[in-house]
């Protein structure tokens, strides 16, 4: 797939359709891959990579990139395309300046899960189809089944469909799929308020306020984040007390409510392994239950429930009535 992507990108560069390419760049190892912009065929040949570790959602980069001179080619995975469509809806990306090639994704790999098998000093990971063959500097050679180390978000994949594109790398387009992504939320809902509070205090206590979740989030594209704005009254770089670290994540979840496409980047990049996506999923689940099913980014036209008022909207009291476990 990677070769076909490079070949097509070169064609589009050559015929002037685009003047640069948004993709992923090789790192020192198989697994340390970062999003990057490529300007020439040579750069593509040298550095462009798209493997199981190319998990980063590149849509957010297009907020800035689409405002630069000329058109950019972007390879979007299904979940990236949802983010892109949502950004289109919010007028944050200029669609006409992006040439989108939809690429399929069969699930990306969580390198942390490989490490968690007690492997350190990993120097190479070979893709053997269904398994990885992992080699370490200590001479260990281990075979790891791919599915076992897949990112949790990919195990709960909501859709293989690319919702916005100019062409698809592979026909036909995928489908929205049945998933169990709300099971974990339901488990939290079943807890008593005290248990739930304890759960979140425990999870969030690990937060080091590195801002990685916010910086990677494709819904967090504000010109100036409230947390960086002195006038907002919530500006602070590090949490001054344990309550503030809770507030940061809760405010962020509120800010992206109705706009979060559930791409799962927040949890993927969290160095402290806080399951931040569960906060967003709780909002999504609530909105589905209160206002009818809605998937942010599923299409560029529908109005998100939080910025839409209808005669049949549920009354606020319903929220109290349903509550959680009492």
């Amino acid at each position: 797939m990677q070769d076909r992507m490079i070949a097509r990108a070169k064609e589009l560069l050559a015929d002037g359709t685009v003047n640069r390419v948004m993709g992923w760049q090789k790192g020192e190892f198989t697994y340390d891959i970062t999003p990057a912009v490529f300007h020439t065929a040579e750069e593509l040949d040298r550095d462009f990579v798209c493997n199981d570790f190319a998990a980063a959602n590149v849509s957010k980069y297009l907020v800035k990139e689409s405002r630069k001179e000329g058109r950019i080619l972007a390879f979007l995975k299904p979940c990236d395309s949802y983010s892109f469509a949502q950004l289109m809806k919010e007028h944050r990306v200029l669609r006409e300046n992006v040439y989108i090639i939809g690429i399929p994704s069969w699930g990306k790999t969580d390198f942390e899960k490989i490490k968690a098998r007690g492997l350190s000093g990993i120097k190479n990971i070979k893709d053997n189809g269904a398994d990885y063959f992992v080699e370490t500097v200590y001479g260990d050679e281990v075979t790891v089944p791919k599915y076992e180390v897949m990112l949790d978000r990919c195990k709960d994949c909501k859709s293989k469909k690319i919702v916005v594109y100019d062409e698809l790398l592979e026909e036909p387009n995928g489908d929205v799929i049945e998933n169990h992504r709300f099971d974990e939320v339901a488990r939290l809902e079943a807890m008593t308020p005290d248990e739930r509070f304890a759960f979140w205090r425990n999870e969030l206590s690990r937060c080091i306020r590195c801002n990685a979740c916010r910086n990677v989030c494709p819904a967090c594209t504000c010109e100036k984040c409230v947390f960086d704005n002195r006038d907002s009254g919530v500006e602070n770089k590090a949490a001054a007390d344990s309550f503030e670290e809770n507030m940061f994540h809760i405010i962020r979840a509120f800010h992206v409510a109705g706009r979060c496409t559930d791409c799962g980047e927040c949890s993927r990049v969290c160095p402290q392994h806080i399951p931040l996506h569960l906060l967003n999923r709780k909002f999504i689940k609530d909105m589905n239950e209160l206002y009818g099913d809605y998937q942010a980014g599923a299409d560029p036209d529908t109005r998100p429930p939080m910025t839409d008022f209808r005669f049949d909207d549920c009354e606020p009291s319903v929220v109290y009535e349903r509550g959680g476990a009492k």
């Binding site: 010109e223 704005n229 992206v256 706009r259």
Partner: protein, 664 residues
């Protein structure tokens, strides 16, 4: 630093009874910036206001906190007082220690503590207040009346007489409303049509009145003085300007089996119809649900017989957009559905009828041409049982009925009983009641005539069960005064069904952002002192949509409502509200969240050039608020993810300061 004065009102014993006002004044003295703090028996009185004015002058106050009743009551009073001595009126804040404190607490300690907290929050807010200046907006000198019943007609006539153009939007094909269906009217027994139809004609002829019958309100935008309304003129499939109302089409129409809603389905009409002889406008309407041509494409008889070529099967709904300065809601009422009251067997026997159906059965233009015949066998009934309060005055736990008194049933039942006895003296008439309520001019006299002169059997007690059996209706009831069970073999049972607001009222209220009570009656701005205005500026209430009313009450209210509308339309300019939203362009993402939630259409977007921090120039899409259109509801400020949108007078910082003061 602000110099703040705190004024704690006793409101007689209203506040002072549950809140230690002296202690509140004393405690608030210690708040930062407070240089003066006092209490007084009636702060809204002349001398109370003078106290504030004097303090502003003497202590050079830059901000005022009045701890008193709801700002809806006296915020304006205190703002004016402050303005009269040169303080910007928007430097005055109210801490509501009456409705939100003394009235809901019983314990003095708890009440006082909360009053101090509310005062503290107001002080914290005043610190961040800035002087604001109100703008002005013009008034569109045209009124919209929604609903063409007697309420709407009367309001429209009065406004039109004063010289202002009025549009009436009526959803059915004719104006007239429920009153057109009534037979006689209490307490004078003049015929409803005789007094209503001249008014309908007058409305049609009044040059300032424009009637949009068979039309509905689709969308309302704007605000007091400047409403913009989309009116859907539903397709009648008849060209209104050509139709002469001759009625030939209705005679020739082969589809004659359509339940006639004007007679409550007790007879049939044709698919093309004029609801009744005196309809205004007198124009036929094709009922697309029954019209053979509309359903099968064949027929077209009406089009053949119409001498003026008024039939247009391809007519489409038409949307008009009009501007108004004031909107009157006169959406009226309906009797509740009595089918759910199984005990009265309404669904089982056609001889159990509602009072409105009885009204049609008595009416000369009704299905029986005014001869009282029972629906099942068209025989003259000899024993009639009237049941009052069907669905009215129900227990809160009774989900079938309403808790309120429908107000009109006692009187019309007395009327029905009296008229029945007068026309058919051989009829036995029983009225079962919980109480007979007849306040009103000449009302009790009227009821007593029914009992004393016409020999109607009034029995205190309720009917427990009605069972149709062998052509009779077996009525089981209790006589509470005689303490006995009664069994009556009746020929007819008439149910005085409760009234409820028309179903169109709720979506309309949402469009108008006008509030409603739990029964879907529109709420008035003040139950005693502003009974014909809705809390939403520029929206007025006329007739049953506000609460149960008889015709005399409705007409009085309709005229009162007109007076308020005329008062508004007579003004050339309205002083606006300076507490409007504004967007910080440097923070704006251009995401359109605010635009989507703005109920007034006050927000627009444009691409603007900006110098960016890195010294480049960027074109960004940013929001702009039109302050003349913004009503300061604040929906945009909470929708804005970056906090670019903020409200003058209620800034995010001010609200956070209040929250912080409360949570301290």
């Amino acid at each position: 630093m602000q110099r703040i004065g705190v004024f704690v009102c006793w409101c007689g014993s209203n506040i002072a009874g549950t809140v230690d006002v002296k202690q509140v004044a004393e405690m608030l003295k210690n708040e930062p910036g407070v240089v003066f703090s006092t209490d007084y028996q009636y702060m809204c009185s002349e001398s109370g206001q003078n106290l504030i004015k004097d303090a502003i002058r003497e202590h050079g106050l830059t901000g005022v906190v009045v701890c008193s009743c709801s700002p809806r009551m006296h915020e304006n009073t205190f703002r004016k007082a402050a303005a009269s001595v040169g303080l910007n009126p928007y430097m005055v804040e109210i801490a509501n220690i009456r409705e939100q404190c003394s009235w809901i607490h019983k314990d003095m300690g708890v009440g006082t503590a909360k009053a101090v907290i509310l005062g503290r929050a107001a002080v914290a807010k005043v610190h961040l207040n800035a002087p604001l200046t109100a703008g002005e907006s013009p008034v569109t000198k045209r009124a919209l009346v929604i609903g063409g019943g007697i309420a709407g007609i009367q309001t429209a006539l009065d406004i039109a007489e004063a010289g202002f153009p009025v549009d009436i939007v009526e959803k059915s094909p004719t104006i007239g409303g429920k009153m057109a269906q009534l037979d006689k009217t209490f307490p004078t027994l003049d015929c409803a049509a005789c007094i209503l139809t001249p008014k309908m004609v007058e409305a049609a002829q009044q040059e300032n009145i424009n009637i949009y019958a068979y039309s509905e309100v689709d969308e309302v935008k704007g605000f007091v003085g400047n409403f913009s309304v989309k009116i859907r003129r539903k397709a009648r499939f008849i060209k209104e300007d050509l139709c002469t109302g001759c009625g030939l089409c209705t005679e020739k129409c082969p589809m004659k089996k359509v339940p006639n809603e004007f007679n409550l389905g007790m007879d049939n009409r044709s698919a093309v119809y004029i609801p009744f002889a005196q309809a205004v406008p007198k124009v036929a309407t094709i009922d697309a649900n029954y019209c053979i041509k509309k359903k099968t494409g064949k027929c077209g008889l009406c089009s053949t017989v119409c001498g003026v070529g008024a039939i247009d099967y391809d007519q489409k709904d038409e949307i008009l957009e009009e501007k108004y300065g004031a909107i009157v809601v006169a959406t009226g009422f309906n009797p509740i559905s009595v089918e759910k009251f199984d005990e009265f067997a309404y669904a089982q026997s056609p001889d159990v009828v509602t009072s409105l159906e009885y009204e049609r059965l008595m009416n000369a233009a009704g299905p029986t041409n005014g001869t009282l015949l029972r629906p099942s066998d068209r025989q003259h009934p000899h024993t009639i049982v009237f049941v009052q309060c069907v669905g009215s005055r129900c227990d809160a736990k009774n989900e079938k009925g309403k808790q309120y008194c429908s107000k009109v049933c006692c009187m019309y039942t007395a009327k029905h009983a009296m008229l029945t006895r007068e026309k058919y003296p051989d009829t036995d008439v029983y009225v079962f009641y919980i109480d007979v309520r007849t306040p009103g001019k000449n009302f009790d006299e009227f009821y007593r005539r029914a009992v004393e002169d016409y020999g109607v059997h009034y029995i205190k007690g309720m009917v427990g069960k009605v069972v149709p059996e062998n052509g009779k209706l077996k009525v089981q009831a209790s006589d509470l005064l005689a303490n006995e069970q009664l069994h009556i073999d009746a020929d007819m049972v008439v149910l005085a069904a409760a009234v409820e607001p028309d179903k169109s009222a709720r979506p309309l209220a949402t469009m108008l952002t006008a509030s409603m009570d739990t029964n879907d009656f529109f709420t008035e701005a003040h139950p005693k002192l502003r009974p014909v205005e809705s809390p939403t500026a520029g929206v007025f209430l006329s007739g049953m949509c506000q609460g149960p009313k008889d015709i005399p009450d409705t007409v009085s209210q309709a005229s009162a409502c007109a007076a308020k509308v005329i008062g508004l339309l007579a003004k050339d300019k309205l002083t606006g509200n300076p507490c409007v939203a504004h967007s910080n362009e440097l923070l704006c993402n251009g995401c359109s969240s605010c635009e989507k939630v703005c109920p007034y259409g006050a927000i627009t977007y444009s691409d603007k050039e900006f110098r960016m921090p890195d010294r480049t120039t960027a074109v960004r899409r940013v929001a702009e608020v039109n302050p003349a259109v913004c009503q300061g509801c604040g929906a945009c400020t909470v929708a804005c993810p970056s906090g670019a949108m903020d409200l003058y007078g209620f800034s995010n910082q001010q609200i956070m300061a209040e929250v912080d003061a409360i949570c301290k």
